[in-house]
């Protein structure tokens, strides 16, 4: 498929053989043609068959008509990383069919829409041609509707060819239209027609098929942005201000979807305010104002929005105001490719805004962590009294992921050192004073009040200008240094508060891998393959900045550490080098940033290449 790359050197990988419940499909259609429904129905069906499955939607930055590719991977071994080569190509788009055919792997299966113009000059692939119009003609559908569901034809044919029980496809359709039988039946009619047609007219010539297994029992299928939205709502979110931008929009859409969970049962009134701001400058101003006034606030945006939020972020950092900013990263610089994935904002988020600033950045690697960091980020923000970033990406946010159901927060909501009337009185009782920016506990974290606290001494003045620990304006160098020193100390405290890395460690192994976010599935899969070919690796997945001691220990423990990330500059690698307490001669950057989710094969190839060159 035309957008696919990530060249990998030839390796043992070549021996990989597709088989039952272990192959991938690629569906090439037109954006806005309704194919999304068909593709999700296929995924849900495999999920219901108990087969580990994952899907990647590679869509254009347009509303209707441009090429879009959807890859579905079934993996009996539970691998969910994107695969570059897809054994089955469903070529339903006139604009790309020629290239789609040319680029498919030898021995693959090609399913085409016969109504399109194309030539198949590939003796090395099995071809099934579907007369879509003719098939649809059999079931008098209303014209416009027929177009919209024509894509159900390949669903029916796939059921027939690859042994997907058609009743399972139906229940998947039902889910898709959340229980509404009418549309489900309508669509299913087309599936059935195609299924029957294929039974009669197609002779199975390939060996690819699915078989029920029991690997998805108790699991869920969910998008990261949906998980994050649910997490935030269970995290006591009260104010959201946002401005639409792909791929973050669906995070707020999902907050709106689930907001009823936070309606007051008696009055039906809402405990969450969601405001569509006029831009990102306003969105962040609103959540900072809200955080200052005692709300649990957040926004969601992507690269361009982050750039616009830079100045306000510096204010929140310096004035110590809690708020949460989700960055669902897309391909940058600039407007870049809004519908392609990347991890390119990491370094910028970490140092966002002028002057000496450093920020907390949480790095979810899967849907469960999107949920967890959804609520935890709000806790950490109030606990540390600072803006907290959650950096997800388009791949995690907008694709369907196989996940465990989410576990209810184990800890109560944490408001940090926020003094309400009673607490403030107690504080004065004990200390005979309270000053906003004084470090009473030696952890760099001061105590705060919020407006509307009925106490004559609750008030203080918040500003982005120089101030002493009594929140009084000051231009004195010593006051400035004292405050900056405390802020740095607070940041050191943050290292112990943010989520620790996930480590797979075995002292016998001398090679380490450090990565984060959605590279996880590619790393896990590549490690297995490398182990099979004698390259044993340990693995540490960073889940937050600032980095914790565990990371330095891990680097210390290995001869070589590959730092694997999906951006062009190797930004985590750069942060590791600029922060590590010792000279790191053993860090090797494997940076990709080619707009697509990382494949295990690419990573495997890179590491093998490097190891063999040693």
């Amino acid at each position: 498929m035309v957008i696919n790359m990530q060249p990998a050197v030839e390796t043992r990988w070549e021996r990989y053989q597709p088989g039952v419940n272990d192959f991938a499909l690629m569906v090439a259609t037109e954006n806005g043609s309704g194919s999304q429904t068909s593709n999700v129905v296929l995924i849900r069906s495999l999920f219901k068959m108990g087969i580990p499955v994952s899907g990647k939607n590679l869509f254009p930055s347009n509303i209707k008509g441009l090429p879009t590719w959807y890859t579905i991977r079934a993996s009996k071994d539970g691998y969910t990383a994107r695969r570059a080569t897809t054994e089955v190509a469903i070529a339903f788009n006139q604009d790309t069919i020629t290239e789609d055919i040319a680029t498919m792997p030898s021995g693959g299966v090609l399913i085409t829409n016969k109504d399109l113009k194309y030539r198949v000059d590939r003796a090395d692939v099995t071809v099934y041609e579907l007369p879509v119009k003719a098939i649809m003609a059999q079931g008098e559908f209303p014209k416009d509707f027929a177009d919209r569901i024509a894509n159900m034809v390949y669903v029916g044919v796939c059921c027939q060819l690859f042994d997907i029980p058609i009743d399972i496809a139906y229940s998947a359709l039902l889910d898709q239209f959340n229980g509404k039988e009418k549309p489900a039946k309508m669509n299913f009619a087309a599936v059935q027609l195609a299924y029957d047609w294929a039974k009669v007219n197609l002779v199975k010539q390939d060996s690819l098929r699915f078989e029920p297994m029991n690997e998805t029992a108790g699991k869920i299928l969910i998008e990261g942005n949906d998980a994050g939205a649910i997490g935030a709502l269970f995290g006591g979110l009260t104010v959201v201000a946002w401005y639409p931008i792909t791929p973050s929009t669906s995070l707020v859409d999902n907050i709106l979807n689930h907001m009823h969970l936070r309606k007051d049962p008696e009055t039906g009134l809402s405990t969450v305010a969601v405001v569509q701001a006029e831009d990102e400058l306003a969105a962040i101003g609103m959540i900072i104002g809200a955080g200052w006034a005692g709300a649990r606030s957040m926004t969601a945006t992507s690269g361009p929005g982050i750039s616009l939020m830079a100045e306000f972020t510096g204010l929140a950092y310096f004035a110590e105001i809690p708020t949460v900013i989700w960055d669902i990263t897309r391909m940058g610089p600039s407007t870049g490719l809004p519908t392609r994935t990347s991890q390119g904002d990491l370094l910028f988020l970490y140092t966002l805004s002028h002057g000496d600033t450093r920020h907390i950045v949480l790095l979810p690697g899967n849907a469960e962590e999107c949920f967890e960091f959804g609520w935890r980020s709000l806790d950490i923000a109030e606990q540390m009294q600072t803006p907290v970033f959650v950096m997800s990406d388009l791949d995690l946010g907008m694709n369907l992921w196989l996940s465990n159901p989410f576990t209810y927060p184990e800890t109560p909501i944490n408001h940090g050192k926020t003094l309400d009337k009673a607490k403030l009185e107690a504080f004065f009782e004990e200390k005979n004073e309270w000053f906003r920016y004084r470090d009473y506990d030696g952890d760099g974290i001061p105590y705060r009040t919020t407006p509307g606290t009925e106490h004559t001494r609750a008030a203080y003045f918040t500003r982005g200008t120089g101030h002493n620990d009594m929140a009084v304006y000051s231009e004195r160098a010593d006051d400035w240094m004292e405050n900056m020193t405390r802020l740095r100390h607070k940041f050191e405290t943050a290292r112990t508060v943010v989520p620790k890395p996930i480590t797979h460690y075995d002292a016998a192994k001398r090679i380490g891998i450090i990565s984060y976010g959605t590279n996880d599935p590619a790393v896990l899969e590549a490690r297995d393959h490398m182990a099979a070919s004698g390259i044993e690796t340990n693995y540490l997945r960073v889940r937050a900045l600032p980095l914790n001691q565990e990371v330095w220990d891990f680097i210390d423990q290995h001869d070589r550490v590959y730092v694997v990330e999906n951006n062009f500059d190797g930004q985590l690698w750069q942060i590791l080098r600029m922060e590590s307490p010792f000279a790191q001669s053993n860090l090797i950057a494997l940076a990709l940033g080619d707009t697509l989710p990382m494949t295990a094969r690419w990573l495997h190839g890179k590491i093998v290449e490097h190891e063999e060159a040693l």
């Binding site: 009260t238 305010a273 003045f461």
Partner: protein, 343 residues
């Protein structure tokens, strides 16, 4: 003498001003102090918000008992929006400058008004950037000369007209030299539900106080034209006759407008005879003032307030900031059953 809360006027003061002696902004701060003292405002309920500028420094100089937030240049409106959403019980007093609002902040200003965020929005308008030493602002007179920056060739932005067409329900203009009127308008504004805009000409004695400048003391003193006399009648007062709501009023007639908290604003017609309840009249009078360089002051426009942003969002009566945790986190069962939907 103590007010109903047992507070002296001095208790409503703030820190010592660091503005230039004679700066118009300081007199506005003084009127805010008097207003709060007269109205017995509980300072703990008040928030003071501002952007950046000499004007935006002033919240540090009044109501020391209130939380204050001196935010970033031109984007205080968004901070005010978030703060009042977090806690709709707060009384928000926002101070900005003509540069802060008319240049960098124009977009946020307009969108704050459109959302009808409940805040008293005071623009201390001096036609220049004071804190950065006297550049022209977007409200400077067309054709005006300043010693350093030469001639201003651009037409001024009328921040009242911007507010009126932007959907503001309370728009006043005044002159910081007119203490009585400033205070009356402040009291009315605080009683108003929704965005109340006060564009107050507030001379910069250091950079823009030449008599030719419409933003100077001399000019204001000589040219201010009051559209009416304003009298504020505290809640409890009973209007003699049903409130007049239509028609323009004849000589000597009086309009009384009731605010949602029961305060009455009584306007006594003067020669100009402007009826603030008519949007088109407001637009016309402002257009005229602009063309003829008239400093018309008073309540320019008033309408029954439409719902505030918080109201359109159907938020709980308890301020979001004060909800207890039980209302912030749904139950474990709720999560479990939600998970079912994804299985």
């Amino acid at each position: 003498m103590a007010n109903a809360l047992g507070l002296e006027r001095a208790d409503y003061r703030g820190g010592k001003s660091t503005l230039c002696p004679g700066c118009g902004h300081d007199s506005i701060s003084n009127q805010i102090i008097s207003m709060a003292y007269d109205l017995n405002l509980p300072m703990w309920k008040v928030i003071k918000l501002s952007g950046i500028g000499c004007s935006s420094k002033t919240p540090a100089y009044f109501l020391k008992g209130s939380h204050g937030f001196n935010s970033v240049h031109g984007r205080m409106p968004s901070v005010a929006t978030g703060a009042t959403l977090a806690n709709h019980d707060l009384i928000a007093i926002a101070v900005s400058g003509d540069g802060d609002t008319g240049s960098i902040g124009l977009g946020q200003y307009k969108h704050l008004i459109r959302r009808n965020v409940p805040v008293v929005y005071i623009i201390e308008n001096n036609g220049v950037y004071g804190l950065t030493k006297g550049q022209f602002s977007a409200t400077a007179d067309e054709g005006q000369f300043l010693k350093y920056y030469g001639k201003n060739d651009l037409p001024p932005i009328d921040l009242c007209l911007e507010a009126v067409i932007g959907g503001a329900t309370f728009v006043g203009r005044s002159f910081s030299g007119d203490a009585k009127q400033v205070q009356a308008l402040l009291k009315a504004a605080v009683a108003h539900r929704g965005t109340a805009v006060l564009d107050i000409v507030s001379p910069c004695v250091t950079f823009n106080n030449a008599p030719e400048s419409t933003k100077s003391y001399p000019y204001g003193q000589d040219h201010e034209i009051r559209l009416h006399d304003i009298e504020i009648l505290a809640p409890g007062y009973v209007a003699p006759k049903p409130e007049i709501t239509v028609g323009d009023y004849d000589d000597g007639q009086v309009i009384e407008v009731e605010m949602h908290d029961g305060t009455f604003v009584r306007l006594k017609k003067l020669e100009a005879g402007h009826d603030p309840r008519s949007r088109s009249e407001a637009m016309t009078v402002l257009d005229k003032a602009g063309r003829e360089n008239l400093l018309l002051t008073g309540l320019i426009y008033y309408e029954e307030p439409r719902p505030t942003l918080g109201e359109t969002l159907n938020l709980t009566a308890t301020p979001l900031a004060h909800l207890d945790d039980s209302r912030l986190r749904p139950s474990a069962d709720t999560l479990a059953s939600l998970m079912q939907k994804y299985a």
